[in-house]
């Protein structure tokens, strides 16, 4: 499996909606097009809604994976300028 280079890590554990999305949006604004952000989150609804929102912004969701009972890892590649 190819390793994805992560350009920015963001920990939004403990955040609830809509702040999960607010912080993810601000996070992606801080990287360049083509770069990848990795977000760790623990709000179940956000594991579904944040990847969807990122696709709606025009970015590419590379991975959304449940890593343990309560946490998810989300990788997004920035595809469009803010």
């Amino acid at each position: 499996m190819e390793d994805i280079k992560i350009d920015k890590n963001l920990d939004i554990r403990g955040e609830v909606c809509p702040y999960t999305l607010v912080k993810s949006k601000l996070g992606i604004e801080m990287i360049e097009v083509g770069q990848v952000i990795e977000i760790i989150l623990d709000y179940p609804e956000a594991a579904d809604s944040v990847p969807k929102a990122m696709e709606n912004y025009g970015h590419k969701v590379l991975k959304i994976e449940k890593i343990n009972a309560k946490e998810w890892i989300l990788q997004v590649r920035k595809e469009v300028e803010d």
Binding site: Y19, K25, L26, E29, N56, D82
Partner: protein, 266 residues
């Protein structure tokens, strides 16, 4: 982009909009907007701009709050009767959003002070609805090349337009001179449905935010006319007049002058 946790919460519904985001919210917080008038239009314009987090809002008004204003001027209250309108609005806007710096200018706008008052601001909002001041603001904005968002209301009808000097039309491209005072309703006749300035002011505030963000199409080159009774919005094209006395190819108005104040303001 360093937002406090409080600001993240306050502006969250802006930040998640792709057209705004953190970068757009930052632009809003750095914007400096000057409003002429804290009356029917100025109240809702300032209210929404304060809520949006516009960094500096200057208000030019030398009138005091009267009971008859409260039917439509929603930034004032019985607690501020007799208080200067700019001051009264400042209290309301700052209690809505302490991030906002509200500058009060308790003066009447005239040909001597207008350029000096406008020069430090990015966008000018006209909420005066009296013709001499409207033309003075228009001419000053054209000369200073400042974007102007203008609104007008009467009875059940309102108008909005955005003037981007030399790019689109200006007020004088539309009507070269103000109408003679006799054609404009006197104060006793000039009724207005109290909610009407809310509609028009909200449209003006929208235009201001779009200009700050650089998103969408400004209402430049158009006049938007709202008829409340018929529930009708008409967008009328207003061409730029190359012979316009102030923004045309060979302007004849190169200095500001004061017109007599024989008009009623709402």
């Amino acid at each position: 982009m360093d937002f406090s946790e409080e600001q993240l919460k306050r502006y969250s519904r802006h930040i998640i909009l792709p057209e705004v985001g953190g970068k757009g919210q930052k632009k809003i917080s750095e914007a400096k907007v000057l409003m002429v008038g804290a009356g029917g239009l100025g109240c809702p314009v300032g209210y929404y701009l304060a809520a949006a987090g516009v960094g500096t809002i200057a208000i030019v008004d030398n009138d005091e709050v009267e009971l008859s204003n409260l039917q439509r001027q929603i930034a004032h209250s019985v607690k501020t009767l007799g208080v200067n309108k700019a001051e009264s609005a400042k209290q309301t806007f700052e209690s809505l959003n302490p991030d906002v710096n509200v500058v009060t200018i308790k003066e009447r706008l005239n040909s001597k002070n207008v350029k000096d008052l406008f020069k430090d601001y990015d966008i000018i909002v006209d909420g005066t609805d009296n013709f001499p001041t409207r033309y003075l603001i228009n001419d000053a904005c054209v000369m200073l090349k400042k974007p102007l968002v203008s609104g007008a209301i009467l009875r059940f009808e309102g108008q909005v337009t955005t003037i981007l000097p030399h790019e689109g039309h200006c007020y004088r491209c539309l009507f070269e001179e103000p109408p003679p005072p006799g054609l404009v309703p006197s104060c006793q006749e000039a009724g207005v449905l109290g909610v009407l300035p809310g509609v028009i002011g909200a449209l003006q505030a929208t235009e201001v935010l779009k200009l700050i963000l650089g998103k969408g199409k400004p209402l430049s080159g158009y006049l938007l006319i709202y008829d409340a009774l018929g529930v009708n919005f008409r967008k009328v094209k207003v061409p730029k007049n190359k012979d316009c006395a102030v923004c045309g190819d060979n302007p004849t108005i190169t200095e500001l002058t004061d017109l007599p104040e024989e008009y009623c303001s709402i």
